[in-house]
């Protein structure tokens, strides 16, 4: 009766059950847990939103703020947002115990201040993004008139590089 070898086998292996939740469990390195936005680093460029396959990441401009919202209840934990983030502001944490009572609890929101267009007064970009572009221009050795950059893409259209003030600063 070969089936009785099962008893021997069971004795040999012993109890292999993990004691979770009494004992915490460890996830391996590189585990794709809950993605988290570092609010200090995020510039509100929305690259992650374009890349997110299930649209768990959304953005909304309201009351002078850009709201970057991540809803873990729809997130598929693929990590595409991490791949595309230019500022490395999103990372996959090791958290996976996401039990919640309400779906509002499964939300992380980052509200970033917006800047107004100096012509039409419309909000068009986050302040951080604006400052970053300014800085990038400077680092590249290009001088730009900040007032012109403060125009929304619509009112910037048709302006040549000269008018924007984009010219290489001679050293």
């Amino acid at each position: 009766m070969s089936r009785f070898t099962l008893l021997k086998k069971a004795k040999e292996i012993g109890v292999i059950t993990e004691r979770y939740p009494y004992k915490p469990t460890k996830v391996p390195e590189g585990f794709r847990g809950k993605p988290e936005i570092d609010p200090e680093k995020c510039i509100g460029c929305c690259a992650c939103i374009a890349a997110c396959p299930p649209n768990a990441l959304t953005s909304l401009d309201e009351n002078g703020y850009r709201v970057i919202r991540i809803f873990y209840g729809r997130c598929i934990f693929c990590g595409r947002c991490v791949d595309v983030c230019p500022e490395k502001a999103i990372r996959m944490t090791e958290e996976f115990e996401l039990t919640a009572d309400d779906h509002e609890e499964l939300v992380q929101e980052v509200r970033l201040k917006l800047v107004r267009c100096s012509v039409c007064g419309r909000y068009y970009d986050t302040e951080r993004h604006y400052r970053m572009i300014l800085k990038e221009f400077e680092e590249a050795g290009l001088k730009v008139d900040p007032e012109v950059l403060r125009r929304c893409p619509e009112h910037r259209m048709g302006m040549s590089a000269e008018v924007i003030g984009l010219r290489r600063v001679r050293k």
């Binding site: 089936r3 009785f4 099962l6 008893l7 069971a10 292996i13 012993g14 109890v15 292999i16 059950t17």
Partner: protein
């Protein structure tokens, strides 16, 4: 007077044991099974928790269920509770004992099974129908085996009254016919407890719980408990006939009875995880074999062996 008090206490204790021991044993059964699966398993009290929870749950009656569905589990439960008073477990005499009480015990045991099956049928669910069909088919043969073995015990002991049978059995013990007969009774108990490979009426992966599919809440608790109790009563009958000397011992009666039943349930628990479910034909074939063995015991008893 003292005698009467003892009688009442032992009967109440018998009923108490019949209700509370089998769920406890089931907990142990699950624990052992889990151990063979290499896992921790539920707490030993788990089955009691389960039944307790079912007591507080809502009891849904499916639309159009027959009255059999409504009352069968309670009826079966009360039948078995009554039987538990009649079956002497730890004390030789029982509160209700008369000539031919064995026949009544047998009748109550088998009618409780039939009641449960009818209750399943009464739900009108097609899976319950299939489960009840399997249950009834198996019960007929199992009861046959049980009846044969009890008759052979009666013949061998030359008595029709439970107490007399025990008295006689403890004198002539051990004899082959009684050993075989009680072995058959144990096998019947195993089959009646819906244990693999005979777990056909419930067969979750095949017919989603089958006979119990529509039951919920208290009725489900009564149903489950009835199945446990029936198995326990058969085991109690068998172990006491197999090894009757403890039954008349006032002090050791209780612990030894518990020990005996525990050993039987232990063997059950180790056996179950090693089997796969039978098909109904194969199940019937093996029950038929058990019937054959019970007939052997009948013949042996007739020969006076």
């Amino acid at each position: 007077m003292n005698q009467l008090a003892l009688l009442i206490i032992s009967s109440i204790l018998g009923g108490f044991l019949t209700i509370f021991l089998p769920p406890l044993y089931d907990g142990i059964h699950r624990k052992i099974k889990a151990r063979i699966h290499c896992r921790i398993g539920p707490p030993i009290m788990q089955t009691i928790y389960d039944l307790g929870k079912l007591m507080v749950k809502d009891d849904i009656v499916p639309e159009g269920a027959s009255s059999l569905f409504l009352y069968a589990p309670y009826l079966a439960f009360s039948y078995l509770l009554f039987t538990s008073i009649m079956v002497p477990m730890i004390y030789l005499r029982s509160a209700i004992g008369f000539t031919c009480d064995l026949i009544l015990i047998l009748y109550l045991l088998s009618s409780s099974t039939v009641l449960l099956a009818l209750g399943g049928l009464g739900s009108g669910n097609v899976f319950a129908y299939e489960g009840a069909r399997r249950e009834l088919t198996m019960t007929i043969l199992t009861e046959l085996a049980a009846i044969f073995s009890l008759i052979s015990i009666m013949i061998r002991c030359g008595a029709l009254r439970m107490t007399e049978i025990y008295e006689k059995a403890s004198i002539i013990h051990p004899v082959p016919s009684i050993i075989i007969a009680s072995g058959v009774l144990l096998a019947c108990a195993y089959i009646e407890g819906f244990r693999l490979p005979f777990e056909l009426p419930e067969a979750e992966p095949e017919i989603s719980g089958g006979i119990i599919i529509e039951y919920s809440g208290r009725r489900l608790a009564a149903f489950k408990l009835s199945v446990f109790m029936k198995q326990f009563l058969l085991v109690a009958l068998a172990v006491n006939i197999l090894e009757p000397w403890s039954i008349s011992n006032l002090i050791l009666g209780l612990p030894i009875f518990i020990l005996k039943t525990f050993i039987v349930y232990l063997v059950f628990a180790i056996l179950e995880p090693l089997f796969a479910r039978f098909r109904i034909q194969e199940a019937l074939k093996s029950i038929l074999t058990i019937c054959g063995i019970s007939i052997i015991s009948l013949i042996l008893a007739g020969l006076g062996v």
